[in-house]
């Protein structure tokens, strides 16, 4: 008990550490905030109906109650198996998921879809599946360090999942990107799950490799360069990212994998030179790709010169991007109000362009609130990483958090024309089953990490 001093715990992280003194306080805080998030979601659904149809319709009761039941099941599971987990992650994710469902429901109304045809119903079913998977993860994985042992299994899993869409007969090309696998009864994007497998592999690999990677090499041009033989892994990952770019035609996913690896390299070694080398390599690759691959070239042209008539009318041109920007513009500061805009004009408004739909109806104020929620989620994830007591846990928490952070950046950056448009999904908000399942697994792993961190502290300090 030597480290548990008598002073009042000042930060929430310290409060979380004093488990013996506050056994259920964290979970009660979580329950309160989940109820709050459910209230906001229900309000959003009600406003959608009032705005679009002028009356409240029965489906919204199912949607809001369904989400509530699902998330509370997760909460109850945590009371049994992860009592010390971070209490803020689940409420944040609940609200993001709920706002997504409300927006998808709103787009269903404008497209005239109802019943099981509606995307919102399917999104709700996928949320249920995703939460069940998350509960299974949090119940089965009791100690994250077990995951480190299987790092090469994760690598293999990741690579197999990545190339799965390229396999003839089961791989499907949708909207020009070959990312889907169709098994007849269900189609999904294996790349979404691959990102978790790769985060697990990178964290496990870098824990053992960090020492040799942080050795200084020769000095040239005023910078200490890494040794040539240490460049191997970064070149391999770069090659994989480039293959994804060329064969699956997906700039976003390749940027996500490569960015994740660079972030973890930097966190593991503390040497910014990896950013310079890796960023340079990726920039070079993307530049060459934009010259020689018509698909990438088209995306770059649509980004740099969106309002050009030629790009606007081209197949796969900037039509969608420009419509999204018009949506943002008509939303203005406080938006048109839920159910009162025309977000349905933008193609794929419920998946890739859900940020534009939300921007139109909730305005800048609403979009910033959503971005603030992502920011808080990411801040919690990094906090879990910083507080971790073993290197694998630290790297894993940072890696998983950055998977979400990079996705948000790539998607929101693409929709707002900061970077070229890519085909990633907005975490938790966008319609899409694979993405929901993958992101809820990330949530479960982060909750597990935040819980085990404190158990280990007790093993060390609780005498």
């Amino acid at each position: 008990m030597s480290l548990l001093n008598n002073s009042t715990p000042a930060t929430i992280t310290e409060q979380l550490m004093l488990r013996l003194k506050v056994p259920t306080k964290l979970r009660n805080l979580e329950a309160t905030l989940i109820v709050f998030a459910m209230a906001v979601t229900s309000a959003a659904l009600a406003l959608v109906d009032l705005g679009a149809t002028g009356q409240l319709n029965p489906p919204i009761i199912g949607l809001s109650l369904g989400l509530g039941v699902i998330v509370l099941a997760m909460h109850v599971a945590q009371r049994f198996v992860a009592r010390d987990a971070d209490p803020l992650i689940l409420p944040i994710v609940t609200l993001l998921n709920g706002l997504g469902i409300a927006m998808i429901h709103r787009l269903d109304l404008s497209a005239g879809l109802s019943g099981w045809q509606a995307n919102a119903s399917r999104q709700m079913v996928w949320t249920a599946i995703a939460t069940v998977v998350a509960i299974v993860v949090i119940v089965v994985v009791r100690n994250h360090r077990v995951l480190q042992r299987y790092r090469y299994v994760w690598m293999l899993t990741g690579v197999v999942l990545l190339v799965l869409p390229l396999v003839p007969f089961i791989g499907v090309t949708i909207n020009g990107a070959r990312l889907w696998v169709n098994l007849g009864f269900v189609s999904f994007q294996p790349g979404e799950i691959a990102k978790i497998a790769l985060a697990l592999f990178f964290a496990g690999y870098l824990v053992t490799a960090r020492d040799s990677l942080s050795v200084m090499g020769k000095k040239a041009f005023g910078v200490r360069w890494p040794r040539t033989k240490d460049l191997g892994p970064i070149l391999v990952v770069w090659a994989v990212a480039m293959l994804v770019l060329i064969f699956q035609r997906d700039l976003g996913t390749s940027l996500l994998y490569f960015g994740l690896f660079l972030v973890l390299m930097y966190v593991a070694t503390g040497r910014a030179i990896w950013f310079v080398v890796g960023g340079g390599l990726f920039g070079l690759g993307a530049l060459i790709a934009s010259q020689f691959l018509t698909y990438v070239h088209g995306r770059f042209a649509a980004w740099l010169d969106s309002f050009n008539q030629v790009n606007y009318e081209a197949v796969g041109g900037s039509y969608q991007l420009v419509q999204g920007l018009f949506g943002f513009a008509s939303g203005g500061i406080i938006g048109t109000g839920l159910g009162a805009g025309h977000p349905g004009i933008v193609p794929l408004a419920e998946s890739d362009y859900i940020m534009a739909s939300l921007g139109e109806e909730l305005g800048l104020v609403g979009v910033f609130a959503i971005l603030a929620l992502y920011l808080l989620f990411i801040a919690r994830g990094i906090r879990i990483g910083v507080n971790g007591s073993d290197d694998f846990g630290r790297l894993l928490a940072i890696g998983l958090t950055f998977v979400i952070a990079l996705q948000v950046f790539i998607v929101v950056g693409g929709v707002t024309r900061v970077i070229p448009v890519t085909g990633l999904t907005t975490p938790f908000l966008a319609a899409g089953g694979s993405s929901l399942v993958a992101n809820w697994i990330i949530v479960a792993l982060l909750l597990r990490l935040s819980d085990t961190v404190r158990h280990q502290r007790e093993e060390v300090t609780g005498q």
Partner: protein, 165 residues
């Protein structure tokens, strides 16, 4: 429903979203805006003295009849806070990255709960708490609680300190 009511409801919804954001911020306010032991977080390692954690009420009082005079001062001779002198007042001092340690050393090579200095029959004894990179007394890695003589270098991560009388 009138246009005005709907407008007020919409405005109220935006406010509600922000109330949720600030509820979360409020729940972790001290985490976001800092705490006095975290004030001087800097790159390249940091050392803070945590006055609350220095002595523990659970420890038995040291033998006052011991003939020897225990060291009174811990002096950091190398590392991020070279030259810092810390008076040794209690019966024990915990060292580690954790904010609850008596002496907080933040660098890559220090574990969360790295080591503990303890007054034992008038001698300061250092005990490694299962750290990753080890604790060294006079360049010898410590595996059992080891007495620390005066003016002997003890290294933890990139920090080296000595005890002085």
């Amino acid at each position: 429903m009138s246009e005005l009511t709907l407008f007020i409801l919409r405005f109220g919804f935006l406010a509600l979203m922000w109330v949720f954001v600030f509820a979360i911020v409020f729940a972790l306010r001290s985490d976001l805006f800092g705490h006095y032991t975290r004030k001087n977080d800097r790159a390249g390692g940091d050392i803070t003295l945590n006055p609350d954690a220095k002595s523990s009420p659970f420890m038995p009082p040291a033998e006052t009849t011991a003939a020897k005079v225990p060291a009174r001062m811990l002096v950091i001779t190398a590392g991020a806070r070279e030259g810092l002198e810390i008076p040794l007042e209690g019966e024990q001092l915990t060292i580690g990255r954790s904010a609850q340690s008596g002496l907080v050393i933040r660098d890559e090579y220090t574990s969360t709960n790295h080591a503990r200095l303890q007054l034992w029959n008038g001698d300061w004894v250092i005990q490694d708490l299962g750290s990753t990179n080890g604790t060294f007394v006079n360049n010898q890695r410590v595996s059992v609680p080891t007495p620390v003589p005066l003016n002997t270098p003890v290294s933890i991560g990139s920090t080296i300190f000595e005890l002085r009388s």
